[in-house]
Symmetry: C2
Subunit: 303 residues, 2 copies
């Protein structure tokens, strides 16, 4: 796996472009034209963002079951209308009609970057599109993304550290087992992390709780949760960028500090981890972590 | 907690009565009259069985969210029509109308035995009814029970060891975290266990998979899963009765044997474990593990 693209850092130009991508439609167009190939954190604020996973159709039933059995890391929000269809979706959200999810959609090009897996091995990381890999047998699934409740936290005055610092959210493998579903067994949750002051954690839990379709409330919090989740080093992320203190030091340098308490949420990258732990045959496509599909509906439409 | 009632062993008379309780309605009537105060394993075969948890109304929203976030151990199938109502239910099962769940119902008496918790502490174990504890503020929840897919496994020729031996299913605390939901945080899955030959495990997984509302497919299997789940000793159960080999020896005496591989499912007793780990105030009522509420609908009505 190429590590050169795993640490997305936005240039000034990219940040300027981010500010112009004010809707889901504009974000998808910019990704389709490969004008925008960066993290979608901060892109189209208040629009719903989604994880993408595209599977050979014979694994579709097991994947639906994996999501149903693990709704916290893998909240299923939509899937291809039919196998092979990359432009029409069927909604799994009771509050959002299928037609309202994303008009003018091409799942092969509309994420800023993609990952490609062959026989459960990552073979390409961070490529700008996957049109050449797509087949009529591929079924796409969209899974909620926690970047969707960041606006709600910000509206309540709770700063999202990685967003303020224009970085990608830190993501880790954890030791929490995913409930097995057919071919998908033996995998664990991936988690995203945002630090908050200890005094704010109950408020953070309370605000994110309502966002069931985008991971809901945290799964763990506190400095002791780092070891409990099996995370060896808070400064060594598996995806995204390492977390920093307010003044730019590695977060681990203030271990135990009550103003920088790690808070962990279920993360949709769990779907890619499940692919890597399963013995799948064939080609699987996915967004590149942090570079999400931005939808036409709002994050509050899924409450 | 009284240990005298935690190891339910059926007398010959109880076994004879079990065979006469052929419907959910008969099972509830016998429990209501305290004629039957034993495990419901083998009672009213093919009828749906349920875990009961009754909470002060202020905890109801958090409990619904706990179930939504943990559908494998805590599949919510119904709740009280209104707070305080012990005879009418609202169904959460898309395939079963509320009126078809259980006619002539009294949740205060219709489980063979009950547990009573005060301020999150177990204060009474295995009492025959809880009418004197019930208040107009209590909200009852029913959660699926894995005794409901045992018939399906038996129809496929897969022997349920504890059922053949007329014992209660072995249940354990595991180290799998329950996804936190409001006041319910810091708890873990409880699991039920049935041994099967290694060669049958994929068939066991496949058959139980369809029973989403009653825990679905196993969460772990294999002798190595015992340590992985944090179970110190397979012969030391937390609820139910210890597992035995076919010839009645403790299962641990054949550790590693491919004819006796432990298979673990999510278990509805997780709801009582969550109560004990939460700082709840007031009185919580529950069935006594193994002594379930038997419904009027069939276990295949929830497929």
């Amino acid at each position: 796996m190429s590590t050169t693209v795993t640490r997305l850092t936005r240039s000034k130009e990219a940040t300027a472009l981010t500010l112009r991508l004010t809707t889901g439609s504009l974000a998808r167009q910019a990704a389709r034209a490969n004008e925008y190939t960066n993290s979608t954190s901060g892109v189209a604020p208040t629009y719903l963002q989604a994880n993408l996973l595209v599977l050979p159709s014979r694994y579709a039933d097991d994947f639906r079951n994996l999501c149903a059995r693990n709704p916290v890391p893998c909240p299923l929000i939509a899937e291809s209308a039919t196998p092979g269809d990359f432009s029409r979706l069927v909604s799994h959200l009771p509050s959002v009609d299928s037609g309202k999810l994303a008009g003018s959609l091409d799942l092969r090009t509309d994420c800023p970057r993609y990952n490609v897996y062959k026989d459960s091995q990552l073979i390409k990381a961070g490529v700008p599109d996957v049109a050449s890999e797509w087949t009529p047998d591929h079924v796409a699934f969209l899974v909620g993304c926690s970047q969707s409740f960041e606006s709600a936290l910000e509206r309540a005055g709770l700063l999202i550290r990685h967003s303020v610092q224009d970085r990608t959210v830190p993501m880790y493998r954890s030791n929490i087992p995913l409930n097995a579903a057919g071919v998908f067994s033996g995998s664990t949750y991936t988690v995203s992390m945002r630090p908050f002051p200890l005094k704010d954690i109950e408020r953070v839990r309370s605000i994110s709780r309502a966002y069931h379709a985008t991971h809901g409330e945290p799964v763990a919090w506190g400095w002791d949760a780092v070891a409990r989740l099996g995370i060896a080093d808070i400064d060594q992320v598996q995806w995204g960028q390492p977390p920093l203190t307010e003044d730019g030091q590695p977060l681990g340098t203030v271990f135990g500090d009550e103003d920088n308490v790690p808070v962990f949420w279920g993360c949709g990258v769990s779907t890619q981890e499940a692919v890597m732990k399963a013995p799948l045959e064939g080609t699987v496509l996915a967004h590149f972590p942090g570079c999400m599909l931005v939808m036409d509906c709002g994050e509050d439409d899924v409450l």
